[in-house]
Amino acid sequence: MAKSEENSIEEHKEEIERELEFSAGYRWQHWIRAISIVVLIGTGFYIAVPFISPVQTAQPDNFLYALFRSWHIIFGFILTYVIFYKSFMFLYGQKYQMERDAIKDVFNIKIWKKQIGYYLLVSKHPKLSGVYNPIQFMAYAGFYVMMFFLILTGFILYVHVYHDGLGGFLYSPMRYFEVAFGGLAMVREIHHIAMWGVILFIVGHIYMAIYNAVFGKEGAIDAIFSGMKWHKKH
């Protein structure tokens, strides 16, 4: 650490403190989710249009497409689990009160104005009730809507590949949703379109994370690794 920076932390020690923002469970689920999404997007594009072919050999044991599909399904289940875990925690988790607190700001037009103004560089950052600002909260809400669409359409596609076990158990209810979506082809398209929604979300999400790290001065990006964030002492 450079000398001047050390001094500056010393200088501010009386004014700022480190606070736990994200619990360990929160951070784990975030990163498991991130990795799953990346794997799922990659394998998903292959499943839609298989863009590489294996070298043909005399031995018919190179099941490339089946392999891609396997990884897609494995990470699909992992993602489903963390999404369910996080959704449950958001609703009932004790350590997630700071997330639920953010709902209040969504209905506050003044905070909306200030937040938009902050990003347009014309007004100061509003004082928030929870950990998320209203734009952020709505983006996450949209992300979860897409996630639930992806999980549901994913399961509809799954029960037609694996007819036993869980696939057999979910077969009848999933066929009900299949009809509601307008057939298996539409299910596949909605799955594909929702994925594009997730890609757009990720780009925006990463940009805002970096933006807040650069300008926010609260160590916001640290919080998702260490869980800790810097706050002004109140």
Binding site: A48, V49, P50, I52, S53, P54, Q56, P60, N62, F63, L64, Y65, A66, F68, R69, Y118, Y119, L121, V122, S123, K124, H125, H160, R175, Y176, E178, V179, G182, G183, L184, A185, M186, R188, E189, H192, I193, W196, I199, L200, V203, G204, Y207, Y211, F215, K217
Partner: protein, 390 residues
């Protein structure tokens, strides 16, 4: 070895079928025709062929082979059930699928033999006489006749686009009237099952499926056309059981439409191996690789084509090297995208003055992604120059 329990349950079913056949046998014949055995024999089929056919139908309906003689008996009494076959907005392809074969099959002979009280394509009557036949049949065999409907039904303010006969009745009115007093209703082909091609966007005649114009249960036998086996099989199933078959979510008989084309496909191994035909006529095509990348819609389509095949069991599209079009699915014309391209190349109607033509989900996604990236770059640059307020 079969378990005792299962054996007994089949015995019950066997007796039930026997009773049903006896019951039908005692019904008066609709009109005095020669027995079907004679017709089949005269057409050049031996008893062996006939039993082979009966065995095939038995297997198709998932019944054990001990039911084969019963099936043969059932066909003999098929002329006791009056059938009314209506044509709506359609191409007659489903009727043709049954009748127009180079060598008549036993299926088509049976179709000739059963008591078609009214069938526009093959009846002799015309004009007022035809109208009268229909009216009489509906009155005489009230609550007894089997109704088979082919074709979509124009509705709403374009209902009159399909107007038939001297009374100027619309197709919808006829279909509704006939449905009311039918013993059982079969929608033959994708048009009457789901609306089909004429219900494709923008659906100028507001064509709908038969099930949308009647409150009665309609059994859908979709396909464009459905194989003759699926049509006759549905009929034989009703003949034997006297009840409706087990149906899937789209009211299709499960014995025929339970699994996807993909699940029953002979090229499935190449799919899982990642071996695909890249374009028609390439090496992969010669080696019988999977047709997924040249637009096969088998993964989204429920049917038994690979098992029953077409043209007297000669072949079916995928065997012939052409992907499935998804013709037995609802709205397949709109939902399945371009015929010879995979589903992810489906075009969306995003015109924007021509700019949005040829827009696939991936292209729209990439455009939005680019716009996002440009926006981010701009915002980041301005923010770096003029920091946000603290």
């Amino acid at each position: 070895m079969v378990l005792n329990g299962i054996d007994e349950s089949y015995d019950t079913l066997h007796n039930k079928f026997k009773d049903r056949i006896e019951y039908l046998e005692n019904l008066p014949k609709i009109d005095e025709k020669r027995p079907i055995e004679d017709v089949i024999k005269e057409s050049g089929f031996g008893r062996r062929d006939f039993l082979k056919w009966a065995g095939a139908i038995t297997a198709m309906l998932s019944l054990p082979s001990t039911f084969t003689p019963l099936m043969a008996d059932a066909i003999k009494v098929a002329d006791r059930l009056p059938i009314i076959w209506l044509h709506m907005a359609e191409c007659t392809g489903c009727t043709e699928s049954l009748l127009r074969s180079a060598n008549p099959t036993i299926d088509s002979l049976i179709f000739d033999h059963i008591s078609l009280e009214y069938q526009e394509t093959i009846m002799t009557a015309a004009g007022w006489q035809a109208e009268e036949n229909l009216e009489n049949a509906m009155k005489k065999y009230k609550d007894r006749y089997i109704l088979m409907v082919e074709g979509g039904i124009p509705s709403a303010d374009t209902e009159h686009y399909l107007t038939i006969g001297g009374h100027g009745k619309t197709g919808k009115a006829t279909a509704q009237e006939a449905s009311e007093n039918a013993a059982v209703i079969f929608a033959i082909g994708t048009c009457s099952a789901f609306g089909g091609v004429q219900a494709a966007s923008p659906n100028p005649s507001n064509a709908v499926s038969l099930s949308e114009v009647t409150d009665r249960t309609v059994i859908n036998v979709p396909g464009c056309p459905p194989s003759e086996k699926n049509i006759v099989g549905t009929l034989m199933h009703y003949l034997l059981y006297g009840t409706l078959p087990a149906l899937d979510v789209y009211n299709r008989p499960k014995w025929a439409y339970r699994l996807r084309i993909h699940d029953l496909c002979e090229r499935r191994g190449h799919f899982d191996a990642g071996e695909f035909v890249e374009q028609f006529g390439d090496e992969g095509a010669k080696d019988g690789y999977c047709l997924y990348k040249v637009g096969c819609k088998g993964p989204y389509t429920f049917n038994n084509c690979s098992k029953q095949k077409f043209n007297q069991g000669t072949s079916w599209p995928v065997q012939a090297g052409f992907g499935c079009m998804g013709c037995s699915e609802p709205d397949f014309w709109d939902t399945m995208g371009t015929v010879n391209e995979p589903l992810s190349d489906k075009l969306y109607n995003t015109t924007f003055g021509g700019m949005g033509a040829d827009a696939t989900a991936d292209r729209i996604g990439l455009t939005l992604l680019t716009a996002t990236a440009v926006g981010i770059a701009g915002h980041a640059a301005i923010s770096a120059y003029k920091n946000p307020k603290e």
